[in-house]
Symmetry: C2
């Protein structure tokens, strides 16, 4: 028996989640059975998509259940293995976050679809497997390359550009030879995009006129838009898109907490004369890209072409604050919680 | 010199066009020069997309100019040829409608992109080349097959289903082995869709709740939506779409006359969990499909698998009324004007 603290969904939030959405409790874990592992979580991830799982509705992932522990990406260390593929001390990526210890089935699955997968810390430090080398990184990689299909010389615009996904999108687009612009929510983030991550242009979406900012940031118009936020930015982008442009829709964080659905863009009709394509995607459909993704990303990290930032909260009791901070843009790059 | 009556754009409409948008005038045409033809127009087409050309803005086709004759699909008979490829009496399809006579360059182009192209009335009567065998037919064919990509057994839903494009979309989808549903603006049209054109389900979008009507008409959800109207139907469709569904956006007639842009669908976010694709298209990008389109359509017409209706106005002076009638759904199938 192992004592573990975990965070459960206390109540389904209406609108913006609060600390009352969460409850910290202590449970006793059964010992791992044949083929199972006991892991001690070192890091856990908080991600905007988790807000969607707090609604009680059918979707591409099951809804969280009230009174049950939340789930999400985590990096743990094996403390007891009854599976020949894992040894004590192994570092694994899995999807039973929001708790200090977890009993996992293994082997099987991968960092995106669940299960325990050993990670290779010679490529990058362990927490990178929750960011650039994990789900957010694959989201950026697959969304941009499969759905955005940028060609060298084209203009790529990404919103929430300093986030875990957006910052990788912009840097991969630069590596593809594109002109890259991004939006973020503070001058500090804008400066980071331009001066550290190599963006050609960036602006603060909270100040100034979006149409004018986009014209200035993307003087040749936009060929590929990587959509993370929705709302007024999407409408301004539709005006700025070039003919035959592609919009890869990853997220619309601006409306995840809306209690009444906000009106859509009033210029969606532009898809016709501009022959635009708008495609939504979900990272779990792209786990087949894991090998080439890991190879490419590890190479770009090693060569210094791809940088990443992490904002780290300490201790499982800080996980709700870390999650809530996503909706205020408190993170620079990946938002993480260090558990041990 | 040939006297010809023609209709010019009298003034750019604000909101819904009226009879004051148009002016009938008589001009004298110069004789055809070397390589040119003089044609007497027998039929002309009025189409919803022409409303877009009345705005003074850049788009995929040039804007109509105030004081200049309107343009659009027409079928004419050669009355004088100074081009070896055409003889007096030949029937040609071209894009200089809205006038009784036209001097055309030839050869070159096709029925969609302009120029004079001989038509083959052994396949279908001449006016069919403005409908099922012309631009609206190719719009349906390319939009459904290239952008909708329906598979046998899937559900295809089309709005404005009794129009020149929608009625062809539904019938081609049936030929592809799909379950087909459509919406139209009267009980008479709904009956025609179900009892004459072979639609599996149809409903009147003006009566009843759109979400409920769609659930009833498409009990397995929608895999392919052929979008002709926009507005509330698009929003209801987004709710009814199945995962990995495709939306081919051909038109949004519901808002062509809007003086302020209407809000977009409030559930566009569904593109993410449902992994939807939304693609706008323009028929002129698909003229390469003309040979296979003509072969397929002529075969389906001959075998009775594809039917079509025409609503015919008489005389060039009735062309404005025919055009305006499009926005009231006065047409059953293709709206045409017989000029001679």
């Amino acid at each position: 028996m192992t004592k573990s603290r975990q965070i459960v969904l206390a109540a389904r939030p209406v609108g913006r989640p609060t600390h009352d959405t969460f409850r910290l409790e202590t449970v006793e874990l059964r010992d791992p059975g044949e083929g199972q592992l006991l892991v001690r979580n070192l890091w856990m991830s908080v991600d905007p998509y988790m807000r969607g799982r707090m609604y009680d509705r059918p979707s591409y992932v099951p809804a969280f259940q009230v009174g049950k522990p939340l789930e999400g990406g985590a990096i743990g260390q094996v403390v007891c293995s009854r599976n020949a593929a894992f040894a004590e001390g192994d570092l694994v990526s899995h999807s039973a976050g929001w708790r200090e210890y977890a009993v996992l089935d293994g082997p099987g699955g991968n960092a995106v679809s669940g299960g325990a997968v050993k990670i290779d810390t010679s490529l990058a430090p362990a927490p990178a497997y929750l960011g650039v080398l994990g789900m957010p990184g694959l989201t950026a990689y697959a969304g941009l390359l499969v759905h955005g299909r940028p060609k060298a010389g084209e203009t790529v615009f990404v919103s929430a550009a300093s986030g875990a996904v957006g910052s990788v999108v912009g840097q991969i687009a630069k590596i593809q030879g594109c002109y890259v612009a991004g939006s973020a929510g503070s001058q500090e983030k804008v400066d980071h995009l331009k001066h550290s991550l190599g963006f050609d242009a960036a602006f603060n979406y909270k100040t100034g006129d979006l149409d004018a900012e986009l014209r200035k940031a993307c003087p040749k118009g936009i060929d590929v838009y990587f959509e993370n936020v929705g709302g007024p930015q999407l409408q301004a982008v539709l005006t700025a898109m070039n003919p035959f442009g592609r919009i890869a829709v990853c997220g619309m964080i601006a409306q995840y907490n809306a209690t009444t659905p906000p009106a859509g863009p009033n210029n969606l009709i532009y898809v016709i004369p501009k022959r635009l394509s708008i495609r939504g995607f979900v990272v779990t459909d792209h786990s087949d890209l894991m090998p080439e993704f890991t190879r490419d990303m590890a190479g770009w990290i090693k060569s210094g072409r791809l940088k990443y930032q992490e904002t780290v909260h300490e201790g499982i009791e800080s996980a709700p604050a870390a999650f809530l901070g996503l909706f205020d843009g408190e993170n620079n790059g990946k938002m993480l919680v260090r558990l041990a």
